[in-house]
């Protein structure tokens, strides 16, 4: 017996009012030749109590990252979201609203998103932010196509963009899909021996439409060459910077060193890693890109009496107006998660952000020092700086190390060979966050030490 259908048992009354006699009459417009003959072959309906019990049973089989020492991150971070966030965001007026197409009854969400835009604008030091993309990768991909729309006409290298050499394979794959329709060529920006962008090689990007880099880069290295890129590539090429959001509590905002578009994963503010979604992609830019940018934007305005009000604006870029000429097909985005991010950011405030970044930085230093104290373990790029993550070369296969660590209850990080381009099987990517404790680090270091010992003596587990 299903619930949540208020008119169950009242069908006859309602049908009669319409002059119909059966529920089948409501489907008489479907030709018999394409009607489903058999009923759906699905399980019996369940009650709320049964669903809750089964959800708990199935989800408790999973191993949450915060249930044990965890060093897996690589773009999604173990975090702690203050309790206020879910309590406020699950208020039905926010949770069950559609896109605020009727501003007169949507001022709450519109204002909250305008506040979010302001906080992102402040965070990255660029004047404009939209209300979210799906995730960091789609934000990066749509930043590339946005840059092409703005710069292609004057570009010497038409339809060409450059992206940093070491990228997570998944991100490059998203970029390739999003650029597949535009005959866009994605070229590679080389690194030097210090794990930073090679500025001499970067001169090749001059005359293209965009350069995409990450700061810190995917290995966690803070690249001091990146701020010098804008001067090399010039005004008619977009410098697109992917950021680790919490790092901006310590690292200079990209808008202050030449970035034209900033993208990134907002997840650390607002929501757990949630098995990869829902998250929210950040997208901020200068005025030059405003009319070509993807996604929804809220503007302040007035009502018919001159009072302050908020509304969605610049919709003429969007698919529901512009159809195939739209700047993007994005419609549903990640508004509620952005709202949650805004709540988290507001609660932290400026000094809370700095404190959070310091906690992240401290954990990274401690873990890095511990891991590098091990025999035969070194950084992929020696002497490089790190925030949140670092990549080491192990004396053996990273997968083997992870498998051993997992067996002793430690999630040791990520073996890069399957997920990052051109990575070696010995490269282990280790992520720490503000949630990493001394005990966690000790568990990792001791575990790796045992693995190395067994490895060195040839009794690999």
């Amino acid at each position: 017996m299903v619930d949540h259908l208020p008119n169950l048992g009242r069908e006859a009354e309602m049908l009669q009012a319409m002059g119909l006699s059966s529920m089948d009459d409501l489907f008489s417009d479907i030709p018999n030749s394409i009607k489903r003959v058999d009923p759906l072959d699905l399980p019996l309906p369940q009650t709320e109590e049964e669903i809750w019990a089964d959800a708990q049973r199935l989800l408790s089989v999973n191993v949450p990252i915060n249930s044990r020492p965890n060093f897996l991150g690589a773009g999604l971070y173990e975090n702690f979201v203050p309790s206020m966030v879910a309590a406020m965001a699950t208020r039905g007026e926010f949770l069950t609203a559609y896109t605020p197409y009727q501003p007169e009854v949507s001022q709450g969400m519109l204002q909250a998103l305008w506040e979010f835009q302001t906080m992102i604008s402040e965070l990255v030091a660029l004047p404009i932010s939209n209300v979210s993309m799906y995730d960091a990768s789609t934000a990066a991909a749509e930043a590339l196509t946005c840059a092409i729309r703005v710069h292609n006409r004057k570009a010497e290298q038409k339809n060409v963009v450059y992206v940093t050499k070491w990228l997570p394979e998944q991100r490059l794959s998203v970029m390739q899909n999003y650029t597949a329709g535009g005959d866009i060529e994605i070229k590679t920006l080389d690194w030097n021996d210090e794990g930073m962008i090679d500025l001499v090689a970067a001169e090749a990007a001059s005359g293209s439409c965009a350069v995409y880099v990450e700061q810190p880069n995917p290995f966690g290295i803070i690249d001091e060459n990146i701020p010098k890129l804008k001067q090399i590539i010039g005004d008619n090429c977009a410098l697109i910077v992917g950021v680790n959001a919490t790092s901006l509590g310590l690292i200079e905002a990209p808008g202050n060193w030449g970035a034209d578009i900033v993208v990134g994963e907002g997840q650390a503010f607002g929501i757990g890693a949630t098995a990869g979604g829902p998250l929210y992609g950040l997208f901020a830019c200068t005025e030059k890109y405003l009319r070509q940018m993807p996604g929804r934007i809220v503007g302040k305005t007035i009502d018919d009496k001159g009072n302050d009000a908020f509304t969605l604006t610049l919709s003429t870029r969007e698919q529901h107006i512009r159809r195939h000429k739209a700047t993007s097909n994005i419609c549903s985005n990640e508004t509620l998660i952005a709202l949650m991010g805004g709540m988290h950011m507001a609660l932290l405030g400026p000094t809370g952000l700095e404190r959070l970044a310091l906690r992240n930085a401290a954990a990274c230093q401690v873990a890095r020092k511990g891991v590098l104290s091990l025999e035969g373990v070194e950084l992929v790029f020696s002497n490089s700086s790190s925030y949140n993550e670092f990549t080491v070369v192990l004396p053996g296969s990273a997968k083997s190390a992870l498998s051993y660590l997992d067996s002793i209850g430690v999630t040791g990080g990520l073996a890069l060979e399957d997920t990052t381009l051109q990575a070696s099987e010995k490269w282990l990517h280790i992520t720490t966050t503000d949630q990493t404790t001394e005990d966690d680090v000790n568990a990792l270091v001791d575990g790796l030490n045992s693995w190395i010992s067994s490895f060195v003596t040839g009794v690999e587990s």
């Binding site: 406020m88 926010f94 829902p278 739209a326 508004t335």
Partner: protein, 497 residues
């Protein structure tokens, strides 16, 4: 007005944090001096008590399904069961990492697998991926699969996608993002697919045709099977926009209609809350000939005695996968909510569609067939957007006759409905219906709500036109000036500057 940037309750931070593992100076040593941030962002300086009151105040200035009737056509604004929210707060979903070993994700993967199977079954498709995170991304991913399918058959020349003029804007936008030329075909005079118009444009350059059925007018396309035959005969693929899937579960399926690929909107049919504009989830289902191109990975399973309920779940990469459209495995949280929703109906999902269609037809009947006494007071009755005896889960009204008689537009009527405590219907879409209001009540509204809405709607048509033209009158703000917003572009708080 509550201004989040005006609070002063937290001179340091509204949220105290545990000590870092190192002192500040030592912690910051990892950051090169040249890259240190000079000035922190001007975020709010507010305490939790102040913020809770601020966001509660904001929430009360926002209208959701929980507030009142939300007849927003094409958006399927059905009740969102609260247990689903409780489930996704569990650490077993909220704190999972998508790249964790498969052994850490078995429970989640079993839910993914069950959803893939359920969605494939309901739509008459062979394989499903849950990766796309919105309907539009599902369209994009599926059209990319179709593109690769044609390429691998050596048919790169297929560079056109056919879209009816009644289609959602995302259809042409998604196909254009894949590089296709869009051929828009006019609907017939009755608002239905025009078979001759299809015949006139299909050819060996046709990659696909994208169709919504029931259409955006809320009517079932009776000639859909023939349309599929025509497109297939020309070598094209048929794409089903699942926005209106809520109308037909258990009654027919895109597979039976001849479609090759479909996207589902879990945030419509399966009750993932809309959240003010997202998150959504837009899985796609395909027939077997397209399965090898699906985004990677999908969940598969093999028997294993000590596995979860006898199964071991694993990620499988389709052999000619287009790769990724989202970085991870899609909006897993939305998938879990939708799983909890589907479990509530199980094999009786058909009842959900029956009641969605019952409610839409009932409300349409109430609005279009009032008593003679009521009709006498109304200057001009609205007319059907598309003539039909029966509609599916939604219907369209053209307010043109009323506008001609009174000068009151569809938008005015929509704004006046806000005064009565309703969300406005979808306005001016589809574009082929003049002065269009599109109304979708969903299955979770009671007969009393529908009766009252019809009564109030008709009452508005008897009101002083000036009152309606200046509506709304009782909302938090009056009619909002969208032109002012676009001209002045105040896109962030000035923060005292």
């Amino acid at each position: 007005m509550s201004d989040i940037f005006a609070f002063n309750g937290a001179t340091n931070s509204g949220y105290a944090q545990p000590a870092a593992l190192l002192g500040d100076a030592e912690a910051a040593e990892g950051i090169p001096l040249s890259m240190r941030r000079a000035a922190l962002p001007q975020w709010p300086r507010a305490s939790e008590p102040e913020l809770v009151r601020h966001f509660t105040w904001l929430s009360r200035r926002n209208f959701g399904i929980d507030t009142g009737f939300y007849p927003l056509g094409s958006c399927t604004m059905k009740h969102n069961p609260r247990v689903n929210e409780k489930i996704v707060q569990l650490a077993g979903i909220n704190d999972l990492h998508p790249l964790a070993p498969e052994s850490h994700l078995q429970g989640l993967m079993s839910i993914f697998y069950e959803m893939q199977e359920m969605l494939a079954h309901c739509a008459g498709m062979d394989e499903v991926t849950l990766q796309p995170v919105a309907g539009a991304q599902g369209e994009f991913a599926a059209i990319r699969c179709i593109q690769e399918y044609h390429r691998s058959n050596g048919e790169d020349n297929r560079d056109k996608v056919i879209v009816p003029d009644s289609a959602h804007g995302t259809n042409p936008a998604s196909a254009a993002m894949c590089g296709y030329e869009i051929i828009e075909i006019p609907s017939g005079e009755d608002g239905r697919l025009d078979i001759e118009a299809i015949r006139a444009v299909v050819g060996d350059d046709t990659a696909a045709m994208m169709v919504t059925n029931p259409s955006t007018l809320g009517v079932f396309e009776p000639e859909i099977a023939e349309a599929s035959e025509i497109v297939h005969a020309a070598g094209g693929q048929m794409y089903y926009d699942g926005a209106n899937f809520n109308a037909i579960l258990g009654k027919t399926s895109p597979g039976l209609m001849g479609f090759d690929a479909v996207h589902y909107n879990l945030h419509k049919t399966f009750s993932q809350p809309h959240g003010g504009g997202g998150p959504g989830s837009g899985p796609i289902g395909v027939k077997s000939h397209l399965a090898q191109y699906l985004p990677k990975p999908v969940v598969d399973r093999t028997e294993k005695e000590d596995g979860l309920d006898g199964w071991k779940y694993f990620w499988r990469v389709p052999i000619n996968s287009i790769g990724k459209v989202q970085q991870w495995h899609g909006n897993a949280g939305a998938v879990v909510r939708s799983w909890a929703f589907y479990r509530r109906y199980g094999r009786e999902l058909e009842k959900m569609s029956e009641h969605a269609v019952l409610n839409a037809n009932y409300l349409r009947h109430r609005i279009l067939n009032p008593s003679a006494e009521v009709i006498a007071k109304i200057p001009a009755m609205p007319v059907d957007g598309a003539p039909a005896e029966i509609v599916k889960h939604e219907f369209t009204l053209s307010m043109s006759p009323f506008k001609d008689a009174t000068g009151v537009t569809g938008k005015d009527v929509a704004k006046r409905l806000l005064d009565y405590g309703y969300m406005a219907p979808t306005l001016y879409f589809p574009m082929i219906v003049p002065e269009c209001l599109m109304i979708e009540p969903t299955e979770t509204e009671s007969k009393e709500v529908l009766d009252k809405f019809a009564e109030d709607f008709l009452n508005i048509l008897t009101e002083d036109p000036e009152l309606v033209k200046n509506a709304p009158h009782s909302t938090d703000v009056g009619r909002v000036d969208e032109v002012w917003a676009a001209r002045n572009l105040v896109l962030r708080h000035p923060l005292g500057n």
